[in-house]
């Protein structure tokens, strides 16, 4: 690959950019940028690496034979720690299990290949790093071979490598023994990548490389960082969105044992103490009068009413094929239904936190983040620093799901502000309640679908109007919204639905609310996947067709989609007798470059839903670590099922209603269905794995509930609708 991408690649890339579960920077200047695997690391990086071969920013071979990879992507459970190391190890020809893995500092060398930004999201980590890391490994390998050739006076072409050694001409040398010599050579301009038929690690289900740390409690998450002289902070935050401190009486808080200081910052009132518990005791002792936000009585009911009115107005056009409005009147039968999805919290098991230390000339940040570049730039702007004066130490993330890539760097900036004020390192740890009530949710949204089927029961018109807050609009990512078009995160998955419906029109109303929203694992697809798959099942019923058979008919020209759909249906024994009382529902969604179909097996007894099994088929193109893809499908099912069954953030008096896991329920092991995952092989382009498994879960389960009870669930969560 060069600095130029083909037209097709560019189109694909810019499309992907809208599918961000973790964001892209909005500059309007989409400069395809590629670290070709042969440039030298920046001076700042090189200085930290000591002697040896730093062939590029990603890999270092030390004289003691230690091989280190720097990951530009954050490990939040999705498995990049293993998968990306596999890619590098393959081309370097070193067993990934003996490669030391480090999280990269924030540096342009670690930007996404096509986006001038370092971030983890959009289910892009593996596919965007694939060629980059292969070249990085191959370049280092070529330099080690060249060093051996020179030392032994042999032709490089006569030498081979085998698991960290160069061999040939009766000689043998470890990479470490060649590292200094190799570091004096110029990196080759071009390197030959391995023939995939000879892969030893890529394409294999290598066990997770981070397990040893994570089963012993040694893995360091942001919340575990301890710095010398560090103060622990708890912040009293406004109980409503847009609220602010009017007055504070901190006398009682300062009297709490262990409390060091109380500081008012933009986020609220911070209590600093010698330990977390004292900081929280101090926080509870604060007496604060809050000034409400612009809409003190704002509630979800208010927003629902506004959106319902909007659904009766024409919106901005996301897609328009044929004439859906006219065709609606020509159908044999039609429907007009509304689907509603609630605000949802990410609810990472590790509550948000950040450690910061600010001196006169530098700022150091330790946190689990999905968006290093934005965090660094925001911190630099706050402090009046140059970006290079800010460094970020990325830790393991105790879940991310989009929340740890905040467009405002919210959880980072407050720690930076506080550390500067305190003049010492500070760790801010959010309580679960802070985290749950802190906003940046999956948007609440309504979909109105008007559709019609012809006499044969085939859909001929689909007019879909969506009202939801945009995720990109109003952020630094706004430049990625095409001029005049609606925010693509609202209609993705509906505007580009794979079903062949001749007259399709999707309109968007970008809603507004005091509640801040953000990407949440699968972004707009978490909304449209439910509305499209639900309404499609309703059309099947309307036209007297089987839901699977109708989907087959509408996907007739799409062999990859059909293969996935059929794989799931066959494994779930669709159309065959099920256990007594068990019923099936099906859904399919293409998102983040992958196609996923799921069949839910459900029973409903006295209003209680039990999901027994989810059969999940995915075509993600080539899988670097098939076991990792399977794990992501299991993960996505649980994530999607928690949302479908229980997930709901209500808004009253301008603030969130829910606060902890008692009123924001997550699926527990006793409710876990068996997840049966099928990887459907294809030669399609490499897609994502982290997010695409989420969107089909809720509609598959609700379609199964319909099969069981005849009741349509059009508003999530299910427990509030049944």
């Amino acid at each position: 690959m060069t600095a130029h991408t083909s037209g097709e690649d560019s189109a694909r890339t810019s499309r992907r950019m809208f599918l961000v579960g973790g964001g892209v920077v909005a500059t309007g200047l989409l400069v395809p940028w590629y670290f070709a695997g042969r440039g030298a690391p920046s001076a700042g990086i090189a200085a930290t690496r000591g002697p040896g071969l730093s062939a590029n920013a990603f890999v270092h071979v030390a004289p003691d034979d230690t091989v280190t990879v720097w990951l530009a992507k954050s490990e939040m459970g999705q498995g990049v720690y293993t998968g990306l190391t596999q890619i590098l190890g393959e081309e370097l020809d070193v067993d990934p299990r003996r490669i030391k893995v480090e999280f990269a500092p924030v540096d342009a060398a670690f930007n996404h290949p096509h986006v001038p930004m370092q971030f983890t999201g959009g289910s892009m980590s593996t596919n965007s790093s694939y060629e980059q890391l292969r070249k990085a490994g191959a370049t280092a390998r070529a330099m080690l071979v060249a060093a051996a050739a020179r030392r032994w006076s042999l032709a490089a072409a006569s030498l081979e490598t085998t698991d960290g050694q160069v061999v040939g001409g009766g000689q043998r040398a470890k990479y470490g023994d060649l590292a200094i010599d190799a570091s004096e050579l110029a990196p080759p301009r071009d390197v030959t990548l391995k023939d995939p038929a000879k892969f030893r690690y890529i394409g294999r289900s290598l066990r997770r490389l981070d397990s040893p740390q994570k089963i012993t409690g040694r893995a360091q998450f942001g919340i575990d960082v301890i710095r010398p002289d560090m103060a622990h902070a708890a912040i009293a935050r406004p109980p409503m969105f847009g609220g602010a401190v009017r007055s504070v009486d901190d006398r009682a808080a300062r009297a709490v044992a262990g409390v060091l200081d109380v500081r008012q910052i933009a986020a609220g009132v911070a209590v600093l103490a010698t330990n977390t518990w004292s900081a929280r005791q101090g926080r509870d002792a604060l007496e604060i009068e809050w000034a409400p936000g612009a809409e003190p009585d704002f509630s979800l009911a208010t927003l629902r009413t506004r959106y319902q009115a909007l659904l009766r107005e024409p919106g901005a056009i996301a897609t328009n094929t044929g004439d859906a409005a006219a065709a609606l009147g020509n159908g044999a039968r039609s429907l007009d239904v509304e689907y509603e999805l609630p605000y949802l919290a990410h609810a990472c098991m590790e509550p948000l936190n950040c450690v910061a230390q600010v001196t006169e000339h530098s700022c150091e940040i330790w946190t689990g983040t999905q968006m290093q570049t934005a965090d660094r730039d925001a911190a630099a702007a706050l402090l009046g620093f140059k970006p290079e004066q800010v460094s970020i130490h990325t830790t393991f993330l105790g879940g991310g799901f989009g929340r740890r890539g905040n467009p405002r760097a919210d959880f980072v900036l407050e720690a930076v502000e506080l550390a500067k004020a305190a003049g010492r390192p500070v760790k801010v740890t959010w309580t679960r309640e802070d985290d749950m009530r802190g906003g940046w949710y999956r948007p609440f949204g309504l979909s109105r679908v008007r559709a019609a089927v012809d006499a044969a029961g085939l859909p001929i018109a689909w007019l879909h109007t969506i009202a939801a807050q945009p995720v990109l609009r109003g952020t630094q990512f706004e430049g990625f919204i095409p001029p005049g078009a609606p925010d693509p995160t609202v209609a993705e998955g509906a505007a580009d639905m794979p079903y062949a419906i001749a007259n399709l029109r999707v309109e968007v109303h970008e809603g507004a609310s005091p509640v801040p929203v953000q990407w949440w694992r699968s972004v707009g697809h978490s909304h449209t996947g439910f509305a499209v798959n639900g309404a499609l099942d309703e059309l099947a019923q309307l036209g007297g067709r089987d839901p699977l058979e109708l989907r087959r008919a509408l996907l007739a020209g799409k062999p990859r989609h059909l293969a996935v759909l059929n794989a799931a249906a066959r494994r779930a024994r669709w159309g065959e007798a099920q256990e007594p009382g068990h019923h099936l529902g099906i859904a399919l969604q293409e998102s983040f470059g992958s196609i996923v179909a799921q069949v839910a097996e459900v029973s409903v007894e006295r209003g209680a839903v039990r999901v027994h099994r989810i059969t999940c088929a995915i075509d993600c193109g080539f899988a670097v670590n098939p076991g990792g893809v399977i794990a992501q499908m299991e993960s996505a099912v649980v994530f999607g099922l928690s949302a479908a069954l229980y997930g709901e953030i209500g808004i009253e008096h301008g603030g969130a209603v829910q606060s902890n896991f008692d009123d924001y329920r997550l699926l527990r092991i006793s409710e876990m269905p068996f997840v049966d995952t099928i990887l459907v092989a294809s030669d399609g382009p490499m897609g994502g794995a982290g997010e695409p498994g989420v969107p089909p879960v809720a509609p598959a389960v609700c379609n199964a509930i319909f099969a069981a009870t005849g009741k349509r669930i059009r508003r999530l969560p299910i427990t509030s609708s049944l």
Binding site: R208, G217, A219, I226, A347, G398, G399, E634, I669, M672
Partner: protein, 154 residues
């Protein structure tokens, strides 16, 4: 001063007896393997053993644990060789890993009292441990695998 026995070692801590064990472990003893998740015994991320029984450290005050034997994830084994840890590695249970200290401590306590747990035993013992990444299917399988490993001659 409060004296605690954590993982076989004595710790003298200058702390309020009302402080939950979780924060004493993490902030005072520097044992960060035990995690904060909810503060209300709703998620199980802070599970430790108190005289071999699983407890939620976030709601257990120091006053209640003085003189008793506390085991944290750091003390379950010195090298990750406890059968539960081995099974967890073998079946690739972890994802983000944040809840796994608590999951492993709950599973180890279950197997200590029920070496061959049924699915119902697993549900009862593990339903208090949330995992947002959704590793439940593998947790169930790994508990059964750990049961086999415990039975096998070492």
């Amino acid at each position: 001063m409060i004296t605690l026995e954590i993982n076989g070692a004595r710790h003298e801590l200058d702390a309020d007896p009302a402080m939950p064990l979780l924060w004493a472990l993490r902030d005072l003893a520097g044992l960060t393997g035990t995690k904060y998740g909810c503060g209300k015994a709703l998620c199980g991320a802070c599970t430790v053993h108190l005289d071999g029984e699983p407890v939620r450290a976030c709601v257990t005050p120091l006053a209640a644990v003085e003189g008793r034997r506390i085991t944290t994830i750091e003390g379950l084994s010195t090298d990750g060789s406890h059968p539960v840890q081995r099974a967890w590695t073998e079946l690739d249970v972890v994802q983000c890993g944040y809840c796994q200290s608590g999951q492993i401590m709950s599973a180890a306590a279950l197997l200590a009292s029920a070496p061959k747990p049924s699915d119902a035993d697993i549900d009862a013992a593990m339903a208090g441990n949330l995992c947002r990444c959704g590793t439940y299917q593998r947790i169930r399988a790994a508990i059964k695998r750990a049961s086999e490993l415990m039975e096998a001659p070492q």
